[in-house]
Protein backbone atom coordinates (compact mmCIF):
# COMPACT_ATOMS: atom_id res chain seq x y z
CA UNK A 1 0.00 0.00 0.00
CA UNK A 2 2.81 2.39 0.82
CA UNK A 3 4.66 1.70 -2.44
CA UNK A 4 1.45 2.08 -4.41
CA UNK A 5 0.72 5.41 -2.72
CA UNK A 6 4.26 6.60 -3.36
CA UNK A 7 4.03 5.66 -7.04
CA UNK A 8 0.70 7.45 -7.41
CA UNK A 9 1.93 10.61 -5.71
CA UNK A 10 5.21 10.69 -7.64
CA UNK A 11 3.63 10.08 -11.03
CA UNK A 12 0.95 12.75 -10.44
CA UNK A 13 3.66 15.13 -9.31
CA UNK A 14 5.78 14.48 -12.40
CA UNK A 15 2.77 15.00 -14.68
CA UNK A 16 1.93 18.32 -13.00
CA UNK A 17 5.52 19.54 -13.12
CA UNK A 18 5.63 18.69 -16.82
CA UNK A 19 2.43 20.73 -17.21
CA UNK A 20 4.04 23.79 -15.63
CA UNK A 21 6.17 24.10 -18.76
CA UNK A 22 3.25 25.89 -20.36
CA UNK A 23 2.60 28.28 -17.49
CA UNK A 24 3.49 31.97 -17.67
CA UNK A 25 6.35 32.95 -15.40
CA UNK A 26 5.61 33.54 -11.75
CA UNK A 27 4.25 37.03 -10.97
CA UNK A 28 4.23 38.10 -14.59
CA UNK A 29 2.07 41.21 -15.14
CA UNK A 30 1.10 40.08 -18.64
CA UNK A 31 -0.16 36.62 -17.67
CA UNK A 32 -3.56 35.73 -19.16
CA UNK A 33 -5.19 35.55 -15.75
CA UNK A 34 -4.81 39.31 -15.34
CA UNK A 35 -5.89 40.41 -18.79
CA UNK A 36 -9.53 39.64 -19.33
CA UNK A 37 -11.93 40.26 -16.46
CA UNK A 38 -9.89 41.74 -13.65
CA UNK A 39 -9.03 45.07 -15.36
CA UNK A 40 -12.77 45.74 -15.46
CA UNK A 41 -13.08 44.97 -11.75
CA UNK A 42 -10.09 47.09 -10.79
CA UNK A 43 -10.99 50.13 -12.85
CA UNK A 44 -14.75 50.20 -12.49
CA UNK A 45 -15.32 49.22 -8.84
CA UNK A 46 -15.07 52.75 -7.48
CA UNK A 47 -17.52 54.32 -9.89
CA UNK A 48 -20.02 51.47 -9.84
CA UNK A 49 -20.09 50.56 -6.16
CA UNK A 50 -17.98 53.18 -4.32
CA UNK A 51 -16.26 50.48 -2.24
CA UNK A 52 -12.43 50.80 -2.20
CA UNK A 53 -11.76 47.19 -1.18
CA UNK A 54 -11.99 45.44 -4.55
CA UNK A 55 -12.08 41.94 -3.03
CA UNK A 56 -15.13 42.74 -0.86
CA UNK A 57 -16.93 44.39 -3.75
CA UNK A 58 -16.34 41.44 -6.09
CA UNK A 59 -17.20 38.90 -3.36
CA UNK A 60 -20.50 40.42 -2.26
CA UNK A 61 -21.69 42.23 -5.36
CA UNK A 62 -20.25 40.96 -8.63
CA UNK A 63 -20.07 37.35 -7.38
CA UNK A 64 -22.91 37.49 -4.87
CA UNK A 65 -24.44 34.18 -5.97
CA UNK A 66 -21.31 32.23 -5.02
CA UNK A 67 -21.18 33.82 -1.60
CA UNK A 68 -24.84 33.12 -0.94
CA UNK A 69 -24.42 29.44 -1.67
CA UNK A 70 -21.26 29.34 0.35
CA UNK A 71 -23.15 30.66 3.36
CA UNK A 72 -25.69 27.90 2.79
CA UNK A 73 -22.83 25.36 2.70
CA UNK A 74 -21.47 26.59 6.02
CA UNK A 75 -24.90 26.30 7.59
CA UNK A 76 -25.26 22.77 6.19
CA UNK A 77 -21.90 21.75 7.66
CA UNK A 78 -22.95 22.95 11.12
CA UNK A 79 -26.23 21.11 10.72
CA UNK A 80 -24.42 17.92 9.65
CA UNK A 81 -22.18 18.03 12.74
CA UNK A 82 -25.24 18.51 14.91
CA UNK A 83 -27.11 15.60 13.33
CA UNK A 84 -24.08 13.28 13.54
CA UNK A 85 -23.15 13.88 17.14
CA UNK A 86 -25.90 15.33 19.25
CA UNK A 87 -27.41 13.10 21.91
CA UNK A 88 -30.40 14.44 23.80
CA UNK A 89 -30.38 12.82 27.21
CA UNK A 90 -33.35 13.68 29.35
CA UNK A 91 -31.95 13.01 32.79
CA UNK A 92 -28.35 13.29 34.00
CA UNK A 93 -26.67 9.87 33.82
CA UNK A 94 -23.97 8.06 35.71
CA UNK A 95 -21.58 9.30 38.35
CA UNK A 96 -21.08 12.96 38.91
CA UNK A 97 -18.25 14.72 40.72
CA UNK A 98 -18.77 17.57 43.13
CA UNK A 99 -16.13 19.60 44.90
CA UNK A 100 -16.58 21.29 48.26
CA UNK A 101 -15.61 24.91 47.81
CA UNK A 102 -14.23 25.61 51.25
CA UNK A 103 -12.06 22.56 51.85
CA UNK A 104 -11.39 21.30 48.28
CA UNK A 105 -12.67 17.81 48.98
CA UNK A 106 -14.02 15.98 45.90
CA UNK A 107 -17.20 13.97 46.29
CA UNK A 108 -18.34 11.35 43.79
CA UNK A 109 -22.12 11.02 43.69
CA UNK A 110 -23.26 7.69 42.27
CA UNK A 111 -26.33 7.13 40.15
CA UNK A 112 -29.57 7.78 41.96
CA UNK A 113 -27.99 9.03 45.17
CA UNK A 114 -28.89 12.28 46.85
CA UNK A 115 -27.34 15.46 45.47
CA UNK A 116 -25.30 17.66 47.83
CA UNK A 117 -26.66 21.17 48.58
CA UNK A 118 -25.63 23.47 45.80
CA UNK A 119 -24.29 26.50 47.70
CA UNK A 120 -21.24 24.73 49.10
CA UNK A 121 -20.57 22.33 46.25
CA UNK A 122 -19.75 23.03 42.62
CA UNK A 123 -20.06 20.59 39.75
CA UNK A 124 -16.76 19.74 38.11
CA UNK A 125 -15.79 17.79 35.00
CA UNK A 126 -14.08 14.43 35.05
CA UNK A 127 -11.01 16.15 33.61
CA UNK A 128 -10.92 18.99 36.10
CA UNK A 129 -7.72 21.03 36.58
CA UNK A 130 -7.16 23.56 39.38
CA UNK A 131 -8.59 26.94 38.40
CA UNK A 132 -5.96 29.31 37.11
CA UNK A 133 -6.82 32.80 38.25
CA UNK A 134 -4.65 34.55 35.68
CA UNK A 135 -6.14 32.80 32.66
CA UNK A 136 -9.72 33.15 33.84
CA UNK A 137 -9.44 36.85 34.68
CA UNK A 138 -7.54 37.83 31.56
CA UNK A 139 -9.92 35.95 29.29
CA UNK A 140 -12.89 37.57 30.99
CA UNK A 141 -11.35 40.99 30.32
CA UNK A 142 -10.30 40.23 26.76
CA UNK A 143 -13.49 38.74 25.37
CA UNK A 144 -15.51 42.01 25.04
CA UNK A 145 -12.58 43.65 23.25
CA UNK A 146 -12.23 40.71 20.89
CA UNK A 147 -15.91 41.01 20.04
CA UNK A 148 -15.58 44.74 19.50
CA UNK A 149 -12.67 44.17 17.14
CA UNK A 150 -14.67 41.56 15.26
CA UNK A 151 -17.54 44.02 14.79
CA UNK A 152 -15.02 46.59 13.56
CA UNK A 153 -13.67 44.09 11.03
CA UNK A 154 -17.16 43.41 9.68
CA UNK A 155 -18.13 47.08 9.47
CA UNK A 156 -14.80 48.22 8.02
CA UNK A 157 -14.70 45.61 5.30
CA UNK A 158 -15.25 48.29 2.69
CA UNK A 159 -12.05 50.19 3.35
CA UNK A 160 -9.58 47.71 4.80
CA UNK A 161 -8.93 43.97 4.60
CA UNK A 162 -11.74 42.19 6.34
CA UNK A 163 -15.41 41.66 5.74
CA UNK A 164 -18.08 39.24 6.84
CA UNK A 165 -16.13 35.98 7.05
CA UNK A 166 -13.19 37.20 9.03
CA UNK A 167 -15.34 39.11 11.52
CA UNK A 168 -17.72 36.19 11.93
CA UNK A 169 -14.89 33.77 12.67
CA UNK A 170 -13.37 36.12 15.25
CA UNK A 171 -16.78 36.51 16.95
CA UNK A 172 -17.13 32.74 17.10
CA UNK A 173 -13.59 32.44 18.44
CA UNK A 174 -14.45 34.77 21.33
CA UNK A 175 -17.21 32.44 22.55
CA UNK A 176 -14.91 29.43 22.05
CA UNK A 177 -12.33 31.24 24.20
CA UNK A 178 -14.97 31.52 26.92
CA UNK A 179 -15.62 27.79 26.67
CA UNK A 180 -11.92 26.91 26.83
CA UNK A 181 -10.91 29.22 29.64
CA UNK A 182 -13.85 28.56 31.93
CA UNK A 183 -16.25 25.74 31.22
CA UNK A 184 -18.46 24.49 28.40
CA UNK A 185 -21.50 24.90 30.64
CA UNK A 186 -20.67 28.60 31.17
CA UNK A 187 -20.44 29.18 27.45
CA UNK A 188 -23.68 27.30 26.76
CA UNK A 189 -25.43 29.37 29.42
CA UNK A 190 -24.28 32.54 27.63
CA UNK A 191 -25.08 31.40 24.11
CA UNK A 192 -27.83 28.82 24.21
CA UNK A 193 -28.02 26.07 21.67
CA UNK A 194 -31.44 26.92 20.32
CA UNK A 195 -30.53 30.59 19.84
CA UNK A 196 -27.31 29.51 18.13
CA UNK A 197 -29.04 27.26 15.61
CA UNK A 198 -31.79 29.78 14.85
CA UNK A 199 -29.30 32.64 14.38
CA UNK A 200 -27.33 30.50 11.94
CA UNK A 201 -30.38 30.12 9.74
CA UNK A 202 -31.25 33.82 10.19
CA UNK A 203 -27.86 34.73 8.72
CA UNK A 204 -28.58 32.79 5.55
CA UNK A 205 -32.10 34.27 5.41
CA UNK A 206 -30.71 37.83 5.65
CA UNK A 207 -28.53 37.19 2.62
CA UNK A 208 -31.19 35.49 0.51
CA UNK A 209 -33.81 37.92 1.75
CA UNK A 210 -31.85 40.93 0.50
CA UNK A 211 -31.66 39.27 -2.90
CA UNK A 212 -35.39 38.53 -2.86
CA UNK A 213 -36.12 42.13 -1.81
CA UNK A 214 -34.21 43.38 -4.85
CA UNK A 215 -36.26 40.99 -6.97
CA UNK A 216 -39.52 42.27 -5.48
CA UNK A 217 -38.50 45.88 -6.13
CA UNK A 218 -38.24 45.23 -9.83
CA UNK A 219 -34.63 44.41 -10.75
CA UNK A 220 -32.66 41.16 -10.92
CA UNK A 221 -32.00 38.90 -7.94
CA UNK A 222 -29.15 40.33 -5.82
CA UNK A 223 -28.95 43.54 -7.87
CA UNK A 224 -28.50 45.98 -5.00
CA UNK A 225 -29.20 49.15 -6.95
CA UNK A 226 -32.90 48.32 -6.49
CA UNK A 227 -32.46 49.22 -2.82
CA UNK A 228 -32.12 52.88 -3.81
CA UNK A 229 -35.86 53.36 -3.45
CA UNK A 230 -35.95 51.77 0.02
CA UNK A 231 -32.88 53.56 1.39
CA UNK A 232 -33.49 56.94 -0.34
CA UNK A 233 -30.08 57.31 -1.97
CA UNK A 234 -28.54 56.99 -5.41
CA UNK A 235 -27.93 53.52 -6.90
CA UNK A 236 -24.16 53.53 -6.37
CA UNK A 237 -24.46 54.15 -2.62
CA UNK A 238 -27.30 51.62 -2.50
CA UNK A 239 -24.89 48.99 -3.81
CA UNK A 240 -22.42 49.86 -1.08
CA UNK A 241 -25.11 49.52 1.61
CA UNK A 242 -26.36 46.29 0.08
CA UNK A 243 -22.84 44.86 0.38
CA UNK A 244 -22.79 45.83 4.07
CA UNK A 245 -26.13 44.14 4.75
CA UNK A 246 -25.12 40.85 3.18
CA UNK A 247 -21.76 40.91 4.96
CA UNK A 248 -23.63 41.19 8.27
CA UNK A 249 -25.72 38.16 7.29
CA UNK A 250 -22.60 36.17 6.40
CA UNK A 251 -20.91 37.18 9.66
CA UNK A 252 -23.82 36.00 11.79
CA UNK A 253 -24.04 32.66 9.98
CA UNK A 254 -20.28 31.98 10.25
CA UNK A 255 -20.15 32.90 13.95
CA UNK A 256 -22.97 30.57 14.89
CA UNK A 257 -21.60 27.70 12.85
CA UNK A 258 -18.17 27.91 14.49
CA UNK A 259 -19.71 27.86 17.97
CA UNK A 260 -22.07 25.03 17.02
CA UNK A 261 -19.35 22.80 15.59
CA UNK A 262 -17.06 23.43 18.57
CA UNK A 263 -19.80 22.63 21.10
CA UNK A 264 -20.68 19.40 19.36
CA UNK A 265 -17.12 18.19 18.71
CA UNK A 266 -15.63 18.98 22.11
CA UNK A 267 -18.40 17.39 24.12
CA UNK A 268 -19.23 14.59 21.61
CA UNK A 269 -22.82 15.74 21.58
CA UNK A 270 -23.63 15.52 25.27
CA UNK A 271 -23.12 19.20 26.18
CA UNK A 272 -22.05 18.44 29.72
CA UNK A 273 -18.27 18.41 29.77
CA UNK A 274 -15.99 20.31 27.42
CA UNK A 275 -12.26 20.45 26.77
Amino acid sequence: MKILGLIIALSTGVLLIYATGDFPGWADPASPASLHLSPHFIEKTMEETSVPNIVTAVLADYRGYDTMYETAVIFTAGLACFILLRIFVREEPGDRLYRHLLTGVTVRVKEGAKLPPSEDFERIDATWTPPDLIIKTICRFLIPFIQLFALYVIAHGHHSPGGGFQGGVILGASIILLAISQDLRTSVRRMREKLDAVLCAVGVIIYAGTGALCLLLGLNFLDYSALASVLHCDPVTARSHGILIVEIGVGIAVMCTMIWIYNNVSSTGKYDEGL
Binding site: E70, I261, V265
Partner: protein, 134 residues
Protein backbone atom coordinates in the same frame (compact mmCIF):
# COMPACT_ATOMS: atom_id res chain seq x y z
CA UNK B 1 22.67 25.67 -19.32
CA UNK B 2 21.77 29.34 -18.96
CA UNK B 3 18.41 28.46 -20.46
CA UNK B 4 17.81 25.83 -17.77
CA UNK B 5 18.70 28.29 -15.00
CA UNK B 6 16.23 30.74 -16.57
CA UNK B 7 13.45 28.16 -16.51
CA UNK B 8 14.20 27.12 -12.93
CA UNK B 9 14.22 30.70 -11.67
CA UNK B 10 10.91 31.48 -13.36
CA UNK B 11 9.07 28.34 -12.28
CA UNK B 12 10.55 27.00 -8.99
CA UNK B 13 7.61 28.39 -7.03
CA UNK B 14 5.16 26.21 -8.96
CA UNK B 15 7.31 23.14 -8.32
CA UNK B 16 7.30 23.70 -4.57
CA UNK B 17 3.51 24.12 -4.58
CA UNK B 18 3.17 20.83 -6.46
CA UNK B 19 5.45 19.16 -3.90
CA UNK B 20 3.13 20.34 -1.13
CA UNK B 21 0.09 19.00 -2.96
CA UNK B 22 1.75 15.63 -3.37
CA UNK B 23 2.65 15.49 0.33
CA UNK B 24 -1.03 15.95 1.13
CA UNK B 25 -2.12 13.35 -1.44
CA UNK B 26 0.42 10.82 -0.14
CA UNK B 27 -0.83 11.30 3.42
CA UNK B 28 -4.44 10.77 2.37
CA UNK B 29 -3.67 7.49 0.58
CA UNK B 30 -1.01 5.86 2.70
CA UNK B 31 -1.57 6.75 6.34
CA UNK B 32 -3.55 4.33 8.51
CA UNK B 33 -4.74 6.75 11.14
CA UNK B 34 -7.94 8.66 10.36
CA UNK B 35 -6.79 11.95 11.90
CA UNK B 36 -3.60 11.84 9.84
CA UNK B 37 -5.72 11.36 6.72
CA UNK B 38 -7.76 14.43 7.67
CA UNK B 39 -4.54 16.43 8.20
CA UNK B 40 -3.40 15.30 4.75
CA UNK B 41 -6.69 16.46 3.24
CA UNK B 42 -6.25 19.91 4.76
CA UNK B 43 -2.63 20.15 3.58
CA UNK B 44 -3.83 19.32 0.06
CA UNK B 45 -6.56 21.94 0.22
CA UNK B 46 -4.30 24.73 1.47
CA UNK B 47 -1.64 23.89 -1.12
CA UNK B 48 -4.19 24.21 -3.92
CA UNK B 49 -5.38 27.54 -2.53
CA UNK B 50 -1.74 28.69 -2.43
CA UNK B 51 -1.33 27.75 -6.08
CA UNK B 52 -4.44 29.66 -7.14
CA UNK B 53 -3.58 32.80 -5.19
CA UNK B 54 -0.10 32.80 -6.68
CA UNK B 55 -1.56 33.14 -10.18
CA UNK B 56 -2.79 36.58 -9.15
CA UNK B 57 0.56 37.96 -8.07
CA UNK B 58 2.09 40.76 -10.12
CA UNK B 59 5.60 42.10 -9.88
CA UNK B 60 5.66 45.74 -8.79
CA UNK B 61 1.95 46.07 -8.02
CA UNK B 62 0.24 46.85 -4.74
CA UNK B 63 -2.59 45.24 -2.75
CA UNK B 64 -6.11 45.34 -4.25
CA UNK B 65 -7.48 48.16 -2.11
CA UNK B 66 -7.95 51.37 -4.05
CA UNK B 67 -6.09 54.40 -2.79
CA UNK B 68 -7.83 57.80 -2.75
CA UNK B 69 -10.97 55.84 -2.15
CA UNK B 70 -12.81 57.88 0.43
CA UNK B 71 -16.20 59.18 -0.55
CA UNK B 72 -15.60 60.01 -4.17
CA UNK B 73 -17.46 58.35 -6.93
CA UNK B 74 -18.69 59.64 -10.23
CA UNK B 75 -17.10 62.88 -11.37
CA UNK B 76 -13.73 63.79 -9.89
CA UNK B 77 -12.46 60.24 -9.44
CA UNK B 78 -8.77 59.59 -9.98
CA UNK B 79 -7.68 57.48 -12.93
CA UNK B 80 -7.06 53.88 -11.89
CA UNK B 81 -4.66 51.71 -13.88
CA UNK B 82 -5.15 47.96 -13.77
CA UNK B 83 -1.42 47.36 -13.95
CA UNK B 84 -0.88 48.99 -10.54
CA UNK B 85 -3.00 46.52 -8.60
CA UNK B 86 -2.71 42.78 -8.26
CA UNK B 87 -5.43 40.58 -9.67
CA UNK B 88 -8.27 40.32 -7.13
CA UNK B 89 -10.26 37.54 -8.76
CA UNK B 90 -8.32 34.51 -7.40
CA UNK B 91 -8.52 36.03 -3.92
CA UNK B 92 -12.30 36.12 -4.08
CA UNK B 93 -12.61 32.52 -5.20
CA UNK B 94 -10.15 31.30 -2.60
CA UNK B 95 -11.92 33.05 0.26
CA UNK B 96 -14.86 30.77 -0.40
CA UNK B 97 -12.51 27.77 -0.61
CA UNK B 98 -10.92 28.45 2.79
CA UNK B 99 -14.21 28.67 4.61
CA UNK B 100 -15.54 25.57 2.87
CA UNK B 101 -12.39 23.72 3.94
CA UNK B 102 -12.99 24.48 7.61
CA UNK B 103 -16.61 23.35 7.28
CA UNK B 104 -15.42 20.07 5.72
CA UNK B 105 -12.92 19.71 8.57
CA UNK B 106 -15.71 20.01 11.15
CA UNK B 107 -17.82 17.29 9.51
CA UNK B 108 -14.79 15.00 9.01
CA UNK B 109 -13.85 15.27 12.69
CA UNK B 110 -17.45 14.57 13.72
CA UNK B 111 -17.34 11.38 11.62
CA UNK B 112 -14.00 10.37 13.17
CA UNK B 113 -15.41 10.78 16.68
CA UNK B 114 -18.43 8.61 15.82
CA UNK B 115 -16.15 5.92 14.39
CA UNK B 116 -14.04 6.00 17.55
CA UNK B 117 -17.13 5.68 19.76
CA UNK B 118 -18.18 2.56 17.92
CA UNK B 119 -14.89 0.71 17.26
CA UNK B 120 -12.70 2.16 20.02
CA UNK B 121 -9.79 2.72 17.65
CA UNK B 122 -8.79 5.15 14.93
CA UNK B 123 -6.50 2.89 12.90
CA UNK B 124 -7.97 1.88 9.59
CA UNK B 125 -6.67 -1.72 9.49
CA UNK B 126 -8.05 -2.49 12.96
CA UNK B 127 -11.44 -1.05 12.00
CA UNK B 128 -11.55 -3.17 8.85
CA UNK B 129 -10.65 -6.28 10.85
CA UNK B 130 -13.43 -5.58 13.32
CA UNK B 131 -15.95 -5.10 10.55
CA UNK B 132 -14.94 -8.36 8.86
CA UNK B 133 -15.30 -10.29 12.09
CA UNK B 134 -18.92 -9.31 12.61
Amino acid sequence: MGDLIQIVVAKYNYWIYITLMMIGLYAMIVKNNLVKKIVGMNIFQTAIILFYVSTGAKRGATIPILEHGHGEHGAGAHMVHAVDYINPLPHVLMLTAIVVSVATLGVALALAIRIYNRHNTLEEDEILAQIREK
